[in-house]
Subunit: 149 residues, 2 copies
DNA sequence: GGTTAGAGTTTACATCTGTAAACGTAAAGT
DNA sequence: ACTTTACGTTTACAGATGTAAACTCTAACC
């Protein structure tokens, strides 16, 4: 007797759907009017388009609905940070293991980070350094093949 | 008089196409037989499928072809690191600016990095720290709205 | 109580992706 | 020269995604 069926929270959120989720994550909950209003100010999408995105997010278990009079209140069923982690990690997982470090360097270079963020990253990295391997092997070729990019 | 038409190197590489690109990036160049052979060992795809992917990559300007007898030699037209950066950055760009730091922390936690990588990251971060803002504002809502996630 | 507006649902449709068979053609072997 | 191979191209097709109109109700207003 689960509250929500929660068959599998793990349906990937598409690029367009991210825009909707960000609104709901930030507000905590929102009705469709609010979502449509705010998303329209960021993207040149018709209300109908945003309705479709909301519907798909509900169907894929990313948003919960609570009846409120004639309309629904939408709330996130998956945490924002978890969605971000999943998105980043799946992207990284398909890249050469050996090159991921450099990818981080470049991504971090191009990202505005707060002093606190940076300090936390440094701390984590220093901790990670204590158990880090000397080298990471390129995993672009199948088992048994040599090569590195 | 460009060597290659290079209309726009910026066509995104899809998940399946990454598998092909990684082989070519690692080998520097490869004929289709080699690509099909190696990719088949990593993915349960038919040769025809891999041929399709190669064809699409050529069409979208990610791979160059050089005739060699009855077949082609394929070479990357976009650098691996650039593709990785683009993929990561576009992912990050659609996430809340305020949460990106934490996303990095989590992603780095789940990624194996070499001592050298980590040290380079720390150095970069220490450098970045000198000009970092105290806080990053949540940019999930449209201009003029308050809110943070 | 009848009308209406607006919320959610259905339907639509082109393009992109993943996956693959079929085909045309020229090189390679006999 | 003839056949076979196999490389690249064309075609196929279902499901995902972006984008949006049309439709169905029911709650709200007069």
């Amino acid at each position: 007797m689960a509250i929500t069926e929660n068959t599998e929270i793990t349906e990937a959120i598409t690029d367009a759907e991210w825009a909707v989720m960000r609104i709901v994550w930030t507000l905590g909950e929102a009705d469709s009017h609010t979502i449509i209003d705010l998303v329209s100010q960021q993207h040149d999408w018709k209300a109908a388009t945003i309705k479709t995105l909301i519907g798909r997010l509900v169907k894929k278990g990313a948003l919960a609905t609570t009846k409120n009079g004639r309309q629904f209140i939408y709330t996130p069923l998956i945490p924002e940070q978890a969605a971000m982690d999943t998105a980043l990690t799946s992207q990284l997982d398909q890249m050469c293991a050996m090159c991921r470090g450099q990818a981080f360097v470049n991504a971090i270079d191009q990202t505005e980070l707060s002093q606190t963020d940076i300090q936390e990253l440094i701390t984590h990295l220093q901790e990670k350094l204590t158990t880090a391997p000397t080298t990471i092997t390129c995993d672009c070729l199948p088992e048994g093949y040599e090569g590195s990019c």
